[in-house]
């Protein structure tokens, strides 16, 4: 039953080399317009030389379990779909941008065609039994996708076995993209 699924992505920051293959794969798969991206790389270096730590993160919409973007949408265009994936129905979107302003992660952008756009976890592929394009293409296999409600899934196992974090847990949005540290 797809309703009982809880899709999540797990990003292994220790493997990511910030090659941006995921960014390009997404652009191609989803015909993302020039000048925009649905996923992106953040490269962070912390500490004092020589005690430095680096972290590369492939980031995207967190498909939050408590998505303020959905709550703020006046038309129902932004909604929670199968497996908790947060989507925008283009035909219902007025382009009021309330959802953009209410996303703490700035994951959305105004598509030149008028509606608001964002990562879909490639739900169209997932429903066909395939992986999201970014996950499929990653050469270091640092991106993992699956169902957190299935204890046997790879994402469940990784979150059991490894240390992880989510971005800005203080927002209370309960992100479903996890970063292995």
């Amino acid at each position: 039953m797809s309703r009982d699924k809880r899709y999540a992505m797990v990003v292994d920051t220790r493997l990511c080399v910030a090659c941006k293959a995921c960014v390009l794969a997404c652009k191609g798969e989803n015909a993302v317009p020039d000048g925009f991206s649905r996923d992106w790389l953040v490269e962070e270096v912390r500490g004092w030389f020589p005690h430095l730590t680096a972290e590369n993160r492939s980031e995207r919409c967190n498909h939050c379990a408590k998505p303020p973007c959905v709550a703020s949408c006046p038309t129902g265009a932004s909604h929670v779909s199968d497996g908790g994936v947060v989507l925008v129905t283009h035909d219902k979107c007025t382009g009021c941008k309330a959802c953009i302003a209410s996303c703490p992660y700035d994951s959305r952008y105004p598509h030149p065609d008028g509606y608001v756009d964002k990562c879909t976890f490639c739900l169209h592929r997932v429903q066909d039994g395939k992986l999201p394009a970014c996950v499929e293409v990653c050469p270091t296999f640092c991106l993992h996708f699956g169902d957190l409600n299935d204890p046997q899934s790879e994402v469940s196992r990784l979150l059991r076995e490894r240390k992880f974090k989510v971005l800005h847990p203080e927002t209370g949005c309960q992100p479903n993209v996890f970063f292995l540290t």
């Binding site: 953040v42 703020s72 038309t75 129902g76 007025t94 009021c96 302003a101």
Partner: protein, 324 residues
């Protein structure tokens, strides 16, 4: 002790999103300002009539509900200009989303019109009614006008209450629209609703003072304006204290308004020009009975508009990205 070094390369450059949000331009602050103004212009004459039990004397106050509807329409025009999918504007009215302030707002906007229309009709003098009747007669609408006038008179008191309630809803909503967005620390405060309502009342009073009022009406409206300005100053103080005593994102918002990039416009335009100076001038006006004609109301209006602009710009610039 110094914090450890932190170097971040952010690989996203989405137009209007990076490096900080710029999705809302002049349209939204203008809409919020006009919405507040419409609320003030609707509420004040209704309150005056409810308290005194007498219909307003001046034409300005009698027809203020219609002025409110015009202001609101201009505001909605600005809101419409902001939509990036204008063809889908009707979608606002195919849904009611209880968690979305924007959805509440779009329905409240619709409630204002019938209330304002009937209140304005009820305020017409016999002479004006006759002329309206004759005019409507030319288009075979005389019976409709008679029907509407009948209801406007019979329901006068409930309509006055409706104006106060719907107006308050409108004024508060313009603030909650921003205040409910926890994603923007600069907006994330429950004070924004009451603050925008009070600002709507004081700018509404200011606009009415620019029109020709009867001496007694003027006397009352000036005093109410003083009250609204004082309340607004208190609310701004509460807002700042709330930021200063909140978590680090709130404290950053406090810094933004007190010594950061938005401090200069905030204090000079909003607090001093829009509240402090008008308060002093109105105090003089009340004591010395020296009407300072246009200056005070114009300053209040500038302050009200500046409040929306400063908060709009600073709010979009504020983000969790500032706290890696």
């Amino acid at each position: 002790m110094n914090d450890a070094m932190l170097e971040i390369v952010h690989g996203r450059a989405n137009a209007q999103i990076d490096p900080s949000l710029q999705v809302w331009g002049w349209e939204i602050p203008v809409y919020l300002f006009l919405g507040g103004l419409a609320a003030g212009v609707l509420i004040l004459p209704a309150l005056l009539e409810l308290l005194s039990g007498k219909k307003p004397k001046s034409m300005a106050l009698r027809l203020a509900p219609w002025l409110s509807a015009v202001l609101l329409s201009l505001g909605m025009g600005a809101l419409f200009l902001d939509l990036s999918y204008k063809l889908h504007v009707y979608r606002f009215y195919l849904a009611f989303e209880a968690t979305s302030p924007m959805s509440w707002g779009s329905w409240i906007l619709l409630l204002v019109y019938p209330v304002a229309l009937l209140l304005g009709l009820g305020g017409l003098t016999d002479d004006e009614r006759q002329r309206l009747g004759a005019f409507a007669g030319k288009y075979r609408l005389a019976s409709l006008v008679t029907w509407a006038l009948g209801h406007a008179d019979a329901l006068r008191r409930p309509l006055l209450w409706a104006a106060v309630i719907v107006g308050a809803g409108l004024g508060i909503y313009t603030g909650i629209l921003l205040g409910a967005m926890a994603a923007r620390p600069q907006w994330n405060s429950a004070i924004l609703g009451p603050l925008f309502l009070t600002s709507g009342l004081s700018t509404g009073a200011a606009l009415l003072l620019l029109l020709r009022l009867d001496e007694h009406e003027r006397h009352v409206v000036v005093r109410w304006d003083v009250g609204a300005i004082l309340a607004e100053l208190v609310l701004i103080a509460v807002l700042l204290v709330g930021f200063a005593t909140g978590d680090r994102t709130s404290q950053h918002a406090f810094w933004h308004l007190t010594s950061g990039p938005w401090a200069a416009p905030f204090w000079s335009l909003v607090v001093v020009t829009g509240l402090g100076v008008p308060l002093a001038l109105e105090a003089i006006e009340i004591r010395r009975r020296l009407p300072l004609a246009m200056l005070t109301p114009i300053l209040v209006l500038i302050g009200g508009l500046s409040l929306r602009f400063v908060l709009m710009i600073s709010g979009q610039a504020s983000s969790f990205r500032e706290f890696p």
